[in-house]
Amino acid sequence: MRAELLTLALILGAFTWAFRFFPTRADLSAMKPDGMLSRFLAATGPAAIATLFVASVLPMVQGAVSLPMGVGTVAVIAVYAVSRSVVGATLAGSAGYGAAFAMIGA
């Protein structure tokens, strides 16, 4: 494994583990719900995910939203609305995209 890749994996793996573990031990009851840190933590996740969604679809948008992308997006939203399952919605979106891709023979 290349040193650069291993370094990235270890840094990210260590932080991810810390993010998952330490809060299970911490007493966050003293953290004010409307405090700066609380607001930052609340905003960081949605901002990051929204950013990454946009960054991942931008290369697919060539002037207009394609039919497969529209079908895939609607499938994700519809399945999530019904099931509240991230995994189910992801698979439905992928399947919807593939089905529309096959139909138009792109």
């Binding site: 991810t16 998952r20 969604f53 931008l58 919605a89 439905a92």
Partner: protein
Amino acid sequence: MSLHVPKSSFATGLVTALPIAMGYFPIAFSFGVAATRAGLTEVEAVGLSLIIYAGAAQFLALALITSGAPVLVAAFTLVAMNIRHVLYGPALMKRVGAGARRRYAWAWAFGLTDEVFGAALGALARGKVAFSEPFMFGLGLGAYAAWVSGTALGAFAGGAALEGWPVVDAALGFMLPALFLALLLSILSRAQLPAIAVAVLATVGVTLLWSGTAGILAGMVAGAVAGVLRFGGKRDAG
């Protein structure tokens, strides 16, 4: 409530993990294929899944690696993305109570992904299971095994594995945007809309004007700052 349910076993955790494992496997397969396409070896692809174990971050890591982003810039971006996980531990502990045994949380918390957290919280809330550390190990291990084995299969199948299957290839290509959109929906709340809107605008603007990597950094930072400035007095409901 789960108070009257006997503590759930490791096997119960494995059974609870089944739906997650069924979803993880194809996503991990597509990661393995994408990784080898991006020039990683099979060992490197599996190594990322073994060490990082965070799907969306792993896909983004590929994009950053292939775009030539410096390691520290890539690490900062990916760490910022995973910071949302700090909210899961307190939410889970609040559900099971402060007296719950968590001696081995340092080990089972490694597997506390978005979906494992959601499944644990959902099962506990429905009273189907009672919290125990063996249950958390079973739940986490079932999902982790599916993720790593799916990655391995995809990586060893190779980047050219899907050349004869253009529809499957296209479908897997949309897996990442679909995962991000589903994750966004899962944490969406009215209070977070300003942060999301600012993040979207900043990402699009900076990407078009400068570069994709700069757009990602700008989106995250601008969105988080907007959240700090605009969320005063509102609690996160996401």
